[in-house]
Symmetry: C2
Subunit: 448 residues, 2 copies
């Protein structure tokens, strides 16, 4: 059997549990799948292939999995920073979302986000936003793998002026997009939070996703204020409240999960709930520090997420890896917590499990889909090299990603986007951002 493409002369990290780095490694691809992965000290050991790429000692590993994003919010990158959360939301973000966003702008923003994520080695993204059909379309145009989730709130939101329709819109979204599912883009539901969705909405939204075997995402216990408010209203902490509604199971992804009691940590583990950890956003908003070492010790599956560019302000999973590995060391006063190889696993294999995609991606295993990245090691900040995991977490950066492949197709080659037209996207975004700045100026709350 002849492969379509052979990538060789690589240092391969398969991310299979316990597998050592493969020096003089290769990856063979056939169609959209991995055909073979191994070591070839001599060129005679290499599989045959129609096309051959010698990556000259570069690192090859599974593509990164971004388990939480609001892609179109790149429009709001740097629009308002360093503000108290409530003021940031009510004076900057909500007005811009409700008064300025259109389906076309959601699509364009998602394209920009896709360009940034591809350049940074993200091959799969779970996105939650309004007009999720537009996000789905943009991910398809970019060639990314993704889970696009329709945002659900019991408030008027872009595309759903009457909140009574929110589940109808979500159901219609789930019922469409079969063609995109074949291209690796699935559909899901994102209930914004316990304090923005009533109990019936949460129950019914969960039922919608259960029927279809897809993921149910929710911001959970992001801030202390959220915990206090939910407790005041329901008498329960947020995760316990979701448990009382029957919403916690293996298909639920709790995003942030910063303020969980030990009992709630065990509850998530018992129910098989997944957690998306977004440390850069959590720190920037002063939201809190999630008990990740505790959740991992309890057996919870944890992935990393960038959150949206309005609160981060980048979609760079390298920063999240580095920060996660460092933050939990100082937070727990233990420098052995979340070692480098574990952090890389969270950004790849474990992220795939968070999204229920572990059979398709997350490790470089023959038979899985060919989602991989090639990282250029020939750089001052990655020299010398003793431990590739250490470099990936503590020294490498998004810009070190040289090639990106999803489903056997290059999305980035030699640092160049192959599916997206950057000058065209940039021009449209810049024009649009001037319009948005004008809108914000006009709609600024009156000075006191």
């Amino acid at each position: 059997m002849i492969a379509d493409l052979l990538i060789h002369n690589a240092l391969v990290l398969t991310l299979e549990p316990g597998a050592p780095p493969l020096t003089e490694g290769y990856v063979a691809i056939r169609g959209r799948r991995l055909a073979a992965v191994g070591r070839a000290p001599h060129s005679r050991d290499l599989p045959r292939a129609r096309e051959v790429l010698n990556v000259q000692g570069s690192l090859v590993l599974p593509g990164l999995v971004n388990t939480h994003c609001h892609a179109p919010m790149v429009w709001f990158r740097g629009l308002a920073d360093d503000l108290p959360l409530h003021q940031w939301l009510t004076e900057a973000i909500f007005p811009a979302e409700s008064g300025w966003l259109t389906p076309e702008r959601v699509y364009l923003g998602a394209l920009l986000a896709a360009a940034e994520m591809i350049r940074g080695g993200i091959t799969t993204v779970a996105d939650g936003y309004f007009y999720a059909g537009e996000v789905r379309r943009a991910l398809a145009a970019a060639g990314l793998r993704g889970v696009a989730a329709q945002g659900v709130l019991d408030f008027p939101v872009p595309g759903v002026p009457d909140p009574q329709d929110n589940l109808k819109v979500a159901a219609a979204f789930l019922n469409s997009g079969a063609d995109l599912a074949a291209e690796g883009i699935s559909s899901a539901v994102f209930c914004h939070a316990v304090y923005t969705c009533g109990p019936e909405t949460l129950r019914q939204a969960k039922d919608l996703t259960r029927e279809r075997g897809t993921r149910f995402f929710i911001h959970l216990a992001e801030t202390r204020e959220e915990v206090c408010e939910v407790q005041r209203r329901t008498g329960l902490t947020p995760a316990a409240y979701l448990e009382s509604l029957g919403v916690l199971d293996e298909g639920t992804v709790a995003v942030h999960a910063a303020w969980l009691t030990p009992a709630e940590q065990c509850l998530l583990a018992r129910r098989g709930v997944k957690v998306s950890h977004c440390p850069e956003s959590n720190l920037k908003l002063a939201a809190g520090v999630a008990p990740i070492p505790e959740l991992l010790a309890a057996g919870v599956t944890v992935g990393l997420g960038t959150d949206g560019a309005a609160s981060n302000n980048n979609l760079d999973l390298w920063g999240e890896m580095s920060l996660a590995a460092r933050l939990h060391k100082v937070w727990s006063q233990d420098p052995t917590v979340l070692p480098a190889a574990r952090a890389v696993a969270l950004a790849t294999r474990e992220g795939a499990r968070v999204l229920g995609l572990e059979d398709a991606i997350g490790t470089l295993t023959p038979g899985k889909e060919a989602d991989l990245i090639v990282v250029d090691l020939d750089q001052p900040h990655l020299t010398p090299l003793y431990d590739p995991y250490s470099h990936l977490v503590y020294a490498a950066r998004a810009a070190d990603v040289r090639h990106v492949m999803v489903r056997g197709r290059w999305l980035l080659f030699n640092g160049q986007l192959t599916t997206l037209d950057w000058p065209e996207i940039a021009g449209k975004i810049r024009a649009g951002s001037r319009d948005l700045a004008g809108f914000c100026q006009k709609n600024r709350p009156l000075a006191p």
Copy 2:
């Protein structure tokens, strides 16, 4: 008067306090100094120059100032991570330093560090290490501005087998290098810590630097263990102990300063002591979180530092800016703490003050030396643009630096190093690192 070089069509951040960003900005350079900085909406407003560089909307700002580094420790990047501090030091770092380092290897390591720092937009570095003359020589070869400090400990160290000689070596170091001082590389003393230098060593080392008007660096209150040990031995907390020795004044730079009592914070402010904040290293070693908002409020001058690559593991000040701005928000539970513009100031203007170089560098002010960087904004993760400070701190990365100038001379142009031969350095470092790995293998402590 005709300038030598005109950089125009830029978004210029002068970093002068309160100065707004200059759109359609320019910077004119004559010799090694800034001749003019301003706005030119029309090309007729531009100063005349022999050479002209249109940077097409790129960001121009002062070069970054790394206030704490151990440049040659790039040799140990990723050699040992995720270990308890004591084990990391005694089993990995100290044996490699004492048994393997040579003056030539210190020089070569410093060249590698210089390559990394230049590529990431650092134009000035304060370094503390052994064989500091070799570091000084490497900085000169790279064209970087710097303060090279000779490491002083009351233990045998590389180059100073008998600790009795440590101040003699430091004095000889300070007495040499006049030629390099003319090239922007000054000499100083770095006493490792209160727990590795006796009171007489600290007093006399401080006297040496006082006589010469140069900086005295010291790791101070880095870990809780340090505080406890110093308190046990002297009855005083570390900063109070230094005060009792008369070592605290405007020429002293306290590095890390993670565990200071409120009284010590005021003491540093009163004495004019400067602080170097190295958050990535502090987190990775689980050392602690420095009370930076409190120190700034008390009026202490604070700069950012990368620390060495053995504990970071990169020499990237962009990561430090981003982490500093985020970390102190969550630590103080206040998202308004350390806003973006302030974080950029710490990495530039305030860093220059930490090193006593505020009259020469730190802002783009006519008459100051031409140390500047050009940041490419035409990239997905920096689009759209509302606030350049926000992008520098929360979205930009080292790889976005396109040109780097020190003293009117390009060290990086179009992303290419102009003073250093990367393939040659890389080849020597890779060969050396294999030798070091072998050395560590041979000298590994016996398994229990």
